[in-house]
Symmetry: C2
Subunit: 495 residues, 2 copies
């Protein structure tokens, strides 16, 4: 085969793998939104079949041979990058036996259903055997990959290339100290001691909540023509293909939940919508890391949609729809610092502590020092230590997150990385456009969207997350920037 033929073959494989992933994304979206309950087994078979197909394809001998040949060729520009990235993916996939891939694919939809049922019935035992199996399979998977250091590194690397337990442990320790210090300052403020939610008990009709969620998502730039918003137990975002980005939300007791979770998921959605068209069917049409992906959602959710300028625009809409009448009090409710049981309902200051709790548990499960059966107890112990509260039931405790039911171990830390990146992005944006608050106050987010697209989205996976952040913000991952942001914002409220 000539070099051109090898390139053609590699191109074909990338496209087919992407198509399989897109179809899998639709199966997953449907599972969580509209699929009838009794289809869980059928969906498990369909998913396992496609996962196996994907695995066979990425493990194809001809693909590997062409990639090896091409690596020795004198390639330039994007071709060179694509071949290297794709080769890395292929080598990684080759390490995991087909049987394990299939087994994981078959168990996860069932495990998801079991998790749903366990939540409904508030009974961890329903979920336990599935989670035990998943932990067992993920440990197996990790052992096949064989990266140096902690066994967890093998899973973490899937979501955050190059990140290690060793680095995270160090960064998280410092972060925890800084957060606890800040929380103590907040808790010692007069404001905190007398605080209560001003709009608790108010009625926020469901349909109006959804109208506002649709409004903000559209205003951010996630248009109807290429996206949609549906209900699901757990808010998420998924790209089904070019021109097809979907987010979900849910109505909860907190009246801001649907609105802010939609902003969050729309942040993900904008990222996925802005990859260059020519990356649609190659390995560059992705985010380089889940941390960078999370930075987009958390940036919009926290730095923008919980900020003063944003509410200067949106307050009058909420006033009109729900009758909320005091800007100050409304703003304080939105940024109400209080230990909460639910991660996705957490305030910004406590948020990273929720993640650290999960990170520590995941390490224990992978090391084998924590058993699945003890999880409810351990969860509650850690909640007591970190937050000073104990969930009343497992639904509000260990059963609250979807991730483990789907085998996503190693994902949680990326939320913290995303928060840190988000703070850095916010700082850079404000430095570059000192007038940006004036635009936000008018409900005009176009400069922000454009900046994110130019600085971050359009690169796809061509650069590493760290490189993209360096180019955009002038420096790599910097937790101190995040702490500065939190201190600056929250010590103004809690003074």
């Amino acid at each position: 085969m000539t070099k051109e033929q090898d390139l053609e073959l590699v191109k074909k494989y990338q496209k087919e793998l992407r198509l399989i992933s897109n179809i899998l994304a639709l199966l997953a979206w449907d599972l969580e939104t509209y699929m009838p309950k009794s289809a869980a087994n059928a969906r498990a078979e369909q998913t396992a079949f496609l996962e196996k197909f994907y695995h066979e394809k990425i493990n194809s001998k001809e693909l590997f041979e062409s990639l090896e040949k091409l690596r020795k060729e004198n390639l330039f520009g994007e071709d060179k990058i694509i071949i290297e990235k794709f080769y890395k993916d292929v080598v990684r996939a080759k390490k995991i036996p087909k049987e394990l891939v299939e087994e994981l694919a078959r168990i996860t939809p069932l495990s998801f259903s079991a998790w749903q049922e366990a939540r409904e019935k508030n009974d961890f035992k329903i979920f336990q055997p599935y989670l035990e199996k998943i932990v067992e399979l993920k440990r197996k998977q990790a052992s096949y990959i064989g990266l140096p250091g902690h066994i967890y590194n093998n899973l973490l690397d899937d979501f955050e290339e190059g990140m290690t337990v060793e680095i995270l442990t160090l960064k998280f320790r410092k972060l925890k100290e800084d957060l606890v210090k800040l929380l103590n300052e907040i808790k010692n403020s007069k404001k905190y001691r007398n605080q209560k939610l001003n709009f608790k008990g108010w009625v926020f009709p469901r349909e109006k909540q959804m109208d506002l969620a649709r409004d903000v998502v559209e205003r951010m730039g996630l248009k109807n023509e290429f996206s949609r918003i549906d209900f699901a137990e757990h808010p998420f975002e998924v790209k089904v293909g070019r021109g097809d980005v979907r987010i979900t939300t849910n109505i909860r007791e907190d009246p801001m939940f649907s609105f802010l979770s939609s902003v969050h998921e729309a942040g993900h959605g904008l990222y996925e919508s802005n990859f260059p068209e020519e990356y649609s069917f190659n390995v560059l049409g992705n985010a380089p890391s889940f941390g960078l992906h999370e930075s987009q959602s958390r940036f919009w959710e926290n730095m923008i949609a919980k900020g003063v300028p944003f509410w200067k625009y949106y307050f009058h809409k909420f006033k009109k729809e729900f009758g909320v009448n005091d800007f100050e009090k409304w703003y304080e409710d939105i940024n109400f610092v209080n230990p909460s049981k639910i991660r996705i309902e957490s305030d910004e200051v406590h948020y990273a502590l929720h993640i650290i709790l999960r990170f520590e548990i995941e390490l224990g499960l992978l090391e084998g020092t924590i058993s699945v059966k003890d999880l409810p107890k351990i969860w509650n112990q850690k909640m007591k230590e970190l937050f000073g509260i104990i969930p009343e039931n497992d639904k509000e405790g260990v059963l609250q997150d979807v991730h483990w039911s789907q085998g996503y171990f190693g994902y949680f830390p990326t939320y913290i990385l995303g928060s840190i990146y988000a703070a850095q992005i916010y700082e850079s944006l404000k430095r570059e456009f000192p007038q940006i608050d004036r635009e936000i106050e008018k409900g005009d987010f176009s400069r922000i969207s454009e900046w994110l697209k130019e600085k971050i989205h359009k690169h796809g996976k061509k650069l590493l997350a760290e490189e993209i952040i360096k180019n955009a913000c002038g420096e790599g991952l910097n937790p101190d920037c995040y702490i500065d942001y939190l201190r600056d914002k929250y010590l103004k409220i809690y003074n």
Copy 2:
């Protein structure tokens, strides 16, 4: 390979092909319900990819060899039937080149979008180039199959095994004569000359229409746990997998449209829900013909849901929701005979004429005696001849049906076959259970559902349609039974 190994291999292929079909069904359902508009190209790629995969699988050399070996073995019972049916499918698939399969798979989602846009803008020209391409490809496909007789037989056989243009032409000629005769009697009745729709202009709120549609579907036995109902431009039914049967509906001017179309699609849905579990992943888990499939939907829609006993139960619900107040007038509105432009809004008596119109046009397109560009003109001419009316625009004329946009040529005749079977089923059911009307009046359809399951559904594709009808009704396809049914019912109304 041993016989057992061959059987194992054949089993594996059946399962994989079924899984691919199921996934394709989800892609199709999503395309027509929730997919964002700008995803048309992406969806086309995904569909084409899976169609190609299906085609490669069914054309696999090892599968063909195993089937050929097994045909020579001494197999018994279902194994023997499965091998023969599967072999026939494989031989048929082998005749169509991969490129054609892919091209058709790629064009149909685009063509569907073009059809939607053409309808919206009431502009046939938008759809024309796509339809021209599809006709060209379907003619190619037909020429590859090479059945004896009319070129259209090759497409018809896909939907109604063994049926031919020659048989249909004869049966349809007689049917047309009988229908025209009946229509003349109706039109000459005093009733007809003075008739008008009694409830025209009444308000039937959308949500209440949907509530009633959900109610009747559930009462028929299509439960929430394994089914769902959504909106789509065109009502349809699709099975995504075991425990996952979906129907769609739409709200139109006719207040009964959503209700009756839901009954119709639920009839399909019940059929697909009742295949034995052990057929889930083999070739027997299907209807033997589209005509028999249509018999299920048309039976429920017409014989049951437009009958007097049914309305003795449902009238009070419609009275409560919409205030309709006169049983006789309501029943007459539901069975109002009047030439209509829209097939799926047609009364029972005119219905077959709509099909005959389409059948004649399809023959012309396949023979090459009709050009796509002339379709609007020809459509309107034929409407004038058969119905005495001309549609005001193409949306209500040639653009009304989804079928051609998806390449379904040869499908329409199965609606007439289904109507005939439905009348035969109705007659047998009443003969077997003279008290059945009493149960229907109470809203109890369980005996009907059970009878259909036992006599028809549970056989899957194990028997031919004709055999199933013979066993259930004592004779094969009998158009006279359908005419008798129509005469009996409608000459009572129009006397």
